[in-house]
Symmetry: C2
Subunit: 481 residues, 2 copies
């Protein structure tokens, strides 16, 4: 029998996927739970990843004509009440601000004081407050389309939280656009969903399914919700981004009217769309292995890490490492020299667990020969190669691209291997009864089967989306985060 | 008698400075009040300015070794209670979260439900929550210095608000550093204050006074607060940025201990520092004139605006304008072609009110001659110049630099002309009794004069700082925002 390989993460994915996930985050030093119920602290290494994601996608949004702005953190209760379906969707998880100062209580402890006439909730999403602004800013068809976005924090009070995947406070961008016609609003949803797919594939190396949500999974108040659903290594789906065609729902409740080309006043058509720090959870569960995180190179906080093996001739080795680092920096790549006072194997494992795409090792021999030895994180030790420093510099960008391509290919292959075609409710039941992992794809007619609900409930399933690839004739069903 | 000149902003600065300020913001479309008490909406044009400020300063912070991270929006009451002086400073203006969901009340209206065992406040500042994280993250002197920063929103419930200057929710960066020794902490405060000065002068074209705050003006819990105080056109001071030497105040209350080089456990020395969206208010009040905003070129959302005079040959003129714009973009400058369907004078005044540094006008004659006519916003019509397009392109960067230099010079001259030396309390009283505008500088010994408080109170004055330039031997006193 083969000896169980030593892994940097315990438990392994097979042993306990949920625990493995938490341990990967801890080992990579990306985030931790905070003393505030359900709220996370995103640590510098995790936050640098989010900043890279933001910077890239923000540039795309600007190219698409979207303007960033900032709307209040708090939303008056009366705003939420305007849209019944919307408030039903969020009422159970709102942080409510009821007072505006603190006083010394009878026992000297601090107590809330200055009760507000109307309470506020911390925004769970901003349709109502942005819609209200749009109702003032939009007068005529000449003001349309109006494309607004904000990067920020939102709060949905969660009872069972998991870092990145489900936290009370999370970070996202939320786009809110308004148009003259329903066709433009729909096209906007599809265009932005396409931007998400491109971003997830070309930057996060995440493949997934693009499709339409079934009515029960729509955003509260939306006519139609479109989603990018990725599939994790445990076979569960993760809704990584959504775009919502809100029709005139919010323009009616927020009074977003404009004078049309025909001179008549009419309601605008609005959309909203977002991706959040959840996507980081998705990257971990798609790319990570039993040795920890594997960072997609194009958003990795560090693309190359240099480990100088410091012994006697440490000054020279450090100098060599620093020179190499500055040459890599000149190529606009993100590089770090790990010159901490630590054992080399500890540094090596630290780089592995953090998932740095390329690890460069420089010992006395490398330095003397003007060479570097490097290892790809996506492949591991078997990719080890020694090259002259110049040859390495000439190749480093293409190695990063290869790593990206390899990670995306893996993600696509996993996705394709974990979708099973079925034709009825029984097929769904059979698949999940056998502890298979993955999603089952059935004709949409199955949604009308009265027995579906029971089977979905039995296995804790939900509909994920009706993929565009199947012309909306089929629906993906499975477990989900 | 000279005819009163027509101005784009009513009232003028002389007529009513406070109203003028509000009208400049409105005319430049930078921000507006929201339906949420005291919270502003930063509109795209204002937010683009903030984004430019963030991008530049964030790069400097990273060069200084600061890492960005994200800490919870909410702070448990028990955390605030740890530091008595600190909570005294913020208790009167905290938004308090007491419930975590909404329910239908008896009359069908929404009411707060799910009362929290321990209320939270929305962070007014994050020393306590970041200090708590540092207490876990710092074990040894090897973990120091630790330099953390977050860009985000904070909330201090304000009763009398003014856009950018005083709003319940505002945006800032807050840096929180920890060191082994008090000397390093002090050096950090001075280094960062130097970065602020450089940033304000070289990017925002704002001059000011760097100095030490008097004890009554210190941050709650700080040993020493250092500030950059700018002076507005109405003679009032604006505290534009501060750095706080917190000594061991927060390391004691948050338990930030480390094993020192001598093997013994000791408390760290911490600092915190920030600038906020207030700085935008400062830029308006320093640079604006009776025709509206004047944007400092290096952070201006648009550095050049091109106004094509659209008549018969509009296609050709637009083409000419677009080509010029793309050539300007290639120089990494921010440019916009205003091709809206509007009267040209309206567009011109819009550009003036928004304070775009360079306005380019292209009519039929310019197009035919391959020329452009441009006007500097800081000087106005008298700077009007017509050049060949190529000559303009060769000169545009240096014109922007000239505008910056001119604005900074004006700001410096105003500052220097509006500080009056005094030697005692009577001098202060006399200066402000005569409706003079500006600050009075007196020897610090005046702080010990029992009559000072009465005079300060009579004229609504406060100490602003003890300038470094006077070796801390003098103190600036005046009105302030």
């Amino acid at each position: 029998m083969a000896k169980k390989p030593r892994t940097a993460i315990t438990p392994t994915r097979d042993e306990d996927f949920a625990q493995w996930y938490q341990q990967v985050i801890k080992a990579a030093d990306m985030a931790e739970n905070s003393p505030v119920r359900g709220c996370m602290i995103i640590k510098p290494y995790g936050f640098a990843l989010w900043e890279n994601m933001q910077r890239i996608f923000d540039g795309w949004l600007k190219d698409y004509g979207v303007q960033n702005a900032s709307f209040p953190l708090l939303i008056p209760l009366s705003f939420l009440e305007k849209e019944a379906e919307h408030i039903d969707g969020f009422a159970k998880e709102c942080a409510v601000v009821t007072h505006h100062r603190l006083e010394q209580g009878e026992d000297g402890e601090l107590v809330p004081a200055g009760k507000l006439e109307e309470p506020y909730v911390i925004r769970p999403t901003s349709e109502t407050i942005i819609g209200d602004a749009m109702s003032r800013w939009i007068q005529s068809y000449r003001d349309l389309p109006m494309k607004l976005n904000q990067w920020g924090n939102v709060m949905r009070w969660e009872m069972r939280t998991r870092l990145f995947l489900r936290t009370s406070e999370f970070f996202w961008h939320e786009g809110h656009n308004a148009f003259e016609t329903p066709e433009e609003a729909k096209a906007d949803c599809l265009t932005v969903l396409g931007m998400y797919e491109k971003f997830f594939e070309e930057y996060l190396a995440l493949s997934g399914f693009m499709g339409i949500k079934t009515p029960d999974e729509r955003f509260p108040g939306a006519l139609e919700t479109y989603a990018f659903e990725a599939i994790m290594q445990d076979g569960k789906a993760l809704q990584a981004a959504t775009t919502h065609d809100l029709g005139q729902t919010f323009s009616r409740s927020c009074n977003i009217k404009f004078q049309g080309r025909n001179g008549e006043e009419q309601l605008a058509y609005t959309t909203s769309w977002a991706f959040s720090t959840r996507a980081i959870g998705g990257m971990i569960m798609v790319h990570g292995d039993d040795d920890g995180m594997i960072m997609p190179p194009r958003v990795a906080p560090q693309q190359v890490i240099i480990l100088p093996f410091i012994k006697d001739n440490s000054d020279e080795i450090l100098e060599f490492a620093d020179k190499l680092a500055s040459q890599i920096k000149d190529m606009e790549l993100r590089v770090r020299v790990d010159n901490r006072d630590m054992r080399t194997p500890d540094k090596m494992w630290d780089a592995v667990k953090k998932g740095v795409p390329i690890r460069v090792e420089i010992g006395a021999r490398e330095m003397e020969n003007g060479e570097v030895t490097f290892v790809r994180r996506d492949i591991g030790r078997s990719s080890k190669e020694t090259l002259s420093a110049d040859a390495f510099l000439g190749k480093v960008q293409s190695v990063l691209d290869d790593i990206h391509d390899n990670m995306l290919e893996r993600s696509k292959a996993f996705r394709d291997e974990h979708v099973v075609d079925g034709s009825n409710v029984q097929d769904i039941d059979n698949f999940f009864a056998k502890d298979n992992i993955g999603l089952v794809k059935v004709p949409v007619s199955v949604l009308d089967d009265a027995k579906l609900e029971e089977v979905m409930s039995k296995h804790s399933l939900s509909t994920r989306c009706m993929p565009f690839a199947d012309d909306g004739k089929k629906v993906l069903i499975g477990k989900a985060y």
